[in-house]
Subunit: 367 residues, 2 copies
């Protein structure tokens, strides 16, 4: 497929990755029954969602593991030009990737663990960079309301390139009261689609952005329209949407479904398995860095919305009468939100009306 | 210090790593109070233990994140000679590293997540290797009694070397009844020290083993005394001690403390902060692969016990009257165990009597 090709040429072959994911899902599926000896059970619908959910009696436990991706390479390349390591920014981005996945099932973050795997322990001898990373991670945990429980910082010579770092982490959250649990089965025709603004590329599409930088004469130092370096804008961290979700839950809003918009871009809006059509009647402003990538990379809009967040980092589906209240609550948390569309009867597809773009179920094969 | 030097020369500088760990512990310590908004609290003593523990009311929640280290490089090197990928074995090893850390605080494993980060998605196109990895991971989860909840398999070109994989994972467990919680404060003078047998090098000391292989004329293909290749024996996976711990808990044994013996070898036996002396009057049989490394690498015994598990992968401290029963229960689970010594009054140190070895508190700076 055309829209997969571009990713494949940037070193991310989603077909192969999706195949191993399906094998892993099948094998992992055989293990869920083990919980019964503890009087617990898994929520089968949560397999393949962003977080795995276990019924623990009077509450649910949600767990997730996520990674930053390759954004650290941009921070490394930009450091001499920015005069800062930016590891505080990418630490927040990593925590956001983890926590935004966790809250998408309705969980409140409890504990985050960090994985800082390096090619050689000398990585940590650079005290400014190491300190930015550690302090940025802690600050993001504080903002997400999660306790930073621990983690690992192994030196993996021969696996990780010298002077590179593989940033990842895990989190556990609690869903209490149990009515806060969000899986696809609450989603229904008529629900409003509220999109929460993104701040840039987040952690999705970095391989493509790096490929573009390699093709530009000035690379990461190419100025964008707003005067900022391309490489600097790539490092803007994602928001922690957890605060918006927690605020909406506390306000008693009936959240029917949530989607953390990452890999597969807006195609992820049809993540729920049922036959429903997602009609977007408005689109949010595209962050300058994504506009830049699309223009310089000559990426057609139909492909751009299939790959990037295009201004929408998180989607919340809820009864239309509550949509404006959600927008207000998000704004209180400093997050712009937009009532962008609604769920209507029809085949499983995403229709971006203002752009004349449509994605069918076959365009999203993540289950 | 001499015994640190050898590690440092193999690319693992524990001084630098310990420094960033201390910074991370300090920063992470500022986040624990966030749990109070959920009516929960952290167990402060669990910071710096193998798993982080949260008081969730009528039970505790324990969380951990761990990695395999560099053993996958041995599997890759041995594959042409063994005619098998061995990724089923190292998958078990990774799950054991995670789960054995988790159970050391008295937790029962609930959910494990997998992190399979590769240099290029083509890694997964090798179906035998990918399938061994996935199936081995699932089998180890089944044996540990944990549900495999999910995970990530990112392609991180530019960070991870092409054709290499960074294997890690996270787990969450439950401590219920709460009396099962094991932190250092139950440990006391008079406790018996029961050592559970290791099956080889486990995931600790691989950098050193790889360095030795590089120095040997036949490398990993050097035959050991029992006729096996050195590289083959390195791939023997660690046992899942979770079954022994769960058996001991169910039998009502009063476990006072547990230590997963990994980095820092037997020095870890004095992990608890209080002033107590750990007197080992017997030592278990050393696995052939560790004997081989010590002999070929000319590693003095005092250094070997400070670095490797030397036949003891896990230590359980409990009242002496219950020690034989624990040995019997372990044997039922196929794990050899040995009542190796006792906790006595004295300064914080480890005394390995049959070897004339002594480690003082200054030899272990992991908190």
């Amino acid at each position: 497929m055309d829209k997969q090709d571009r990713y494949a040429s940037a070193g991310v072959d989603y077909d192969v990755l999706d195949r191993v994911k399906r094998l892993a899902l099948a094998e992992a599926g055989r293990t869920g029954g083990l919980l019964s000896r503890l009087g617990m059970s898994e929520i089968p619908e949560s397999r393949g969602e962003t977080a795995y959910v276990v019924d623990a009696g009077d509450h649910y436990i949600a767990t997730v593991l996520e990674c930053l991706g390759t954004k650290s390479l941009v921070a490394d390349a930009m450091r001499p030009h920015l005069g800062r390591s930016s590891y505080d920014r990418i630490a927040q981005d990593a925590v956001a990737a983890i926590v935004n996945d966790l809250v998408a099932v309705g969980a409140t973050p409890l504990v985050v663990h960090a994985y800082f795997a390096v090619g050689a322990s000398e990585w940590f001898a650079d005290e400014e960079r190491a300190s930015d990373l550690v302090r940025g991670w802690a600050r993001a945990c504080l903002e997400a309301g999660a306790s930073w429980g621990g983690g690992e910082s192994p030196a993996l010579g021969g696996i990780i390139r010298t002077d590179a770092i593989d940033l990842a982490g895990s989190a556990v959250g609690i869903v209490r009261p149990k009515s806060r649990l969000v899986t696809s089965d609450k989603l229904r025709e008529g629900d409003a689609i509220v999109l929460l603004a993104s701040t840039g590329i987040h952690t999705n599409g970095l391989s493509l952005a790096r490929k573009l930088a390699a093709e530009l004469p000035d690379g990461y130092l190419t100025p964008m329209e707003d005067g900022r370096y391309f490489g600097d804008a790539l490092l803007d961290p994602a928001p922690l949407y957890s605060r918006v979700v927690e605020g909406a839950q506390q306000a008693g809003l009936e959240i029917h479904y949530m989607v953390h918009i990452t890999g597969h871009g807006w195609r992820k809006l049809m993540r729920a398995p049922q036959d429903l059509t997602y009609l977007l009647e408005e689109v949010p402003t595209v962050p300058p860095v994504l506009e830049f990538i699309c223009r310089e990379g000559r990426i057609p809009e139909a492909e751009a919305y299939a790959l990037f967040n295009m201004g929408a980092g998180f989607a919340i589906f809820l009864p239309p009468a509550q949509a404006d209240e959600l927008v207000r609550l998000a704004s209180q948390q400093g997050v712009d939100a937009l009532v962008a569309g609604r769920v209507i009867e029809g085949p499983r597809r995403v229709v971006i009306q203002p752009k004349g773009i449509e994605y069918s179920a076959e365009d999203l094969r993540i289950r």
